[in-house]
Assembly symmetry: C2
Homo-oligomer: 282 residues x 2
């Protein structure tokens, strides 16, 4: 909603959200040429900001894009947080290649947390499986495809989400050409499998997919709490046999998958325990 949106430049200036900011020839518009990050501020404090700034830099490197440094981005983030002190917000960092012959357009936005994202943390989500026709290994050895970068070219991701929504589903999980599960359009996938040694919290290797910050945090916290973790190729059969499957992301944080490709999934009571590890706000 326009009136709920805050927009800050990297010098810390807030600009009216309804005032146009980008030129008609900005490559961010004409080519989806740029990168972004999204995180959640809880009670005015952004989660994992250093990790998001590092990944923004990684995306910029993959795009050959020279961006302002972390201190500049932090100034923009602080402006958005300061304007709504102590509030929960979705904070977005956006960088485009800029207009023809110009410099990158960089800004930060703040907006309300969607109620649906909060509700899905407990209610769970019904998920479609969609082929992406590229395996993680293929994507990793084809850097020009930019699968590891969080670029502004999200039309395919949004198309997949619309495809699911048109069928009454909440989200999507992409499957590669080798049958291995990859990631969601805006999320990572986690499954709790039963190994010979006990339960193991698993996520696919970060090859040819986005290196999810929330899933990294979850696995780190699980390790520290004595729950075994593993990065391994996961098949659809693995997910169907799992004690639970979740999609993780920076705003929704952790959502249990209650239905995958039309089949119900259990969650074995693990959702609150993983949410606690991830410090999901109550």
């Amino acid at each position: 909603m326009a009136s709920d949106l805050l927009v800050a430049l990297l010098d810390g200036t807030l600009v009216p959200a309804d005032r146009p900011l980008l030129r008609a020839d900005d490559a961010g518009v004409t080519r989806g040429d740029g990168c972004f990050e999204t995180t959640l501020a809880v009670a005015g404090v952004p989660r994992d900001l250093p990790e998001h700034l590092a990944r923004l830099q990684l995306s910029a490197d993959l795009l050959d894009l020279v961006l302002p440094g972390p201190e500049d981005w932090t100034r923009g983030v602080d402006a958005v947080l300061g304007a709504r002190q102590g509030a929960d917000q979705v904070v977005r960092l956006i960088a485009t290649r800029g207009p023809e012959g110009g410099i990158p357009t960089c800004y930060v936005t703040g907006g309300p947390v969607p109620a649906s994202s909060v509700a899905q943390r407990t209610a769970g989500i019904r998920v479609a499986l969609l082929e992406r026709a590229v395996s993680g290994a293929d994507a990793a050895r084809m850097p020009w495809l930019l699968f590891g970068a969080k670029t502004l070219s999200y039309a395919m991701n949004m198309g997949a989400l619309r495809w699911a929504a048109a069928r009454g589903l909440d989200d999507v999980l992409f499957v590669g050409s080798d049958g291995a599960v990859l990631e969601g359009p805006r999320s990572s996938v986690v499954a709790l499998l039963e190994d010979d040694t006990g339960p193991v919290l698993c996520t696919p290797p970060a090859d040819g997919i986005l290196d999810g910050i929330t899933v990294r945090r979850l696995l780190g916290a699980a390790d520290a709490a004595g729950l075994a973790t593993s990065r391994r190729l996961l098949t659809v059969a693995d997910l169907q046999a799992a004690q639970g499957v979740w999609l993780t992301s920076s705003v929704r944080l952790l959502a249990p998958v209650t239905e995958l490709d039309g089949s119900p999934l259990v969650d074995g009571g693990w959702t609150p325990r993983l949410a606690a590890l991830l410090e999901v706000p109550a």
Copy 2:
């Protein structure tokens, strides 16, 4: 260049190119969510405008985007053409999903024709082969991947072109997982093959790739002139054995490939004949 750019809204108003036009939360920026067309105006007359308007509508349909009709777009195009009467221009039609809860942002730009594009029509281009890891058939049965739509999410295409430029090359040709040649990041591929019955001008089937307007026009003109044409799967070996290989697109029109993946290609003197069929301006 900013000063050379014209920007028109669909009501026919010209707006200053250096005045920002898009909001910070426009999905065209934040998600590369929208579609576009590019064509060439020669001496003030746009080439293939009805075909570009039809493809814009097709892309919008694939994106579930409701756009203004052809008469509105034509008003914007006329404004750009009228401001520079009789000139050659690159004319771009751009539509985004618009800001959160808003309506699509639609506009037309006019700008100079890059000298490099004109030069490459005769000098030819050195082309890299890059895998795209998806075959045309796979892409066609996965509509959520939007390969048939000309979306604003072109970061991957621009990444491939940067990959080639960093190696001193001019362009790229994508190859699918089945070894068949697909398309360039901003062009279609045409090859003149020698069949038992004589020379045949070939291009891949339009499955899972963009349905190129210039290549369609070229094949139509060739048919009319008595040169056999065919849509068929083409391998890299087919191209290496061809009497000539060209990339076609709306601005550069027809560029002979002089080198493919490091190996020189002949053109058998066909470039001027095909350029005449395509009515390439001298």
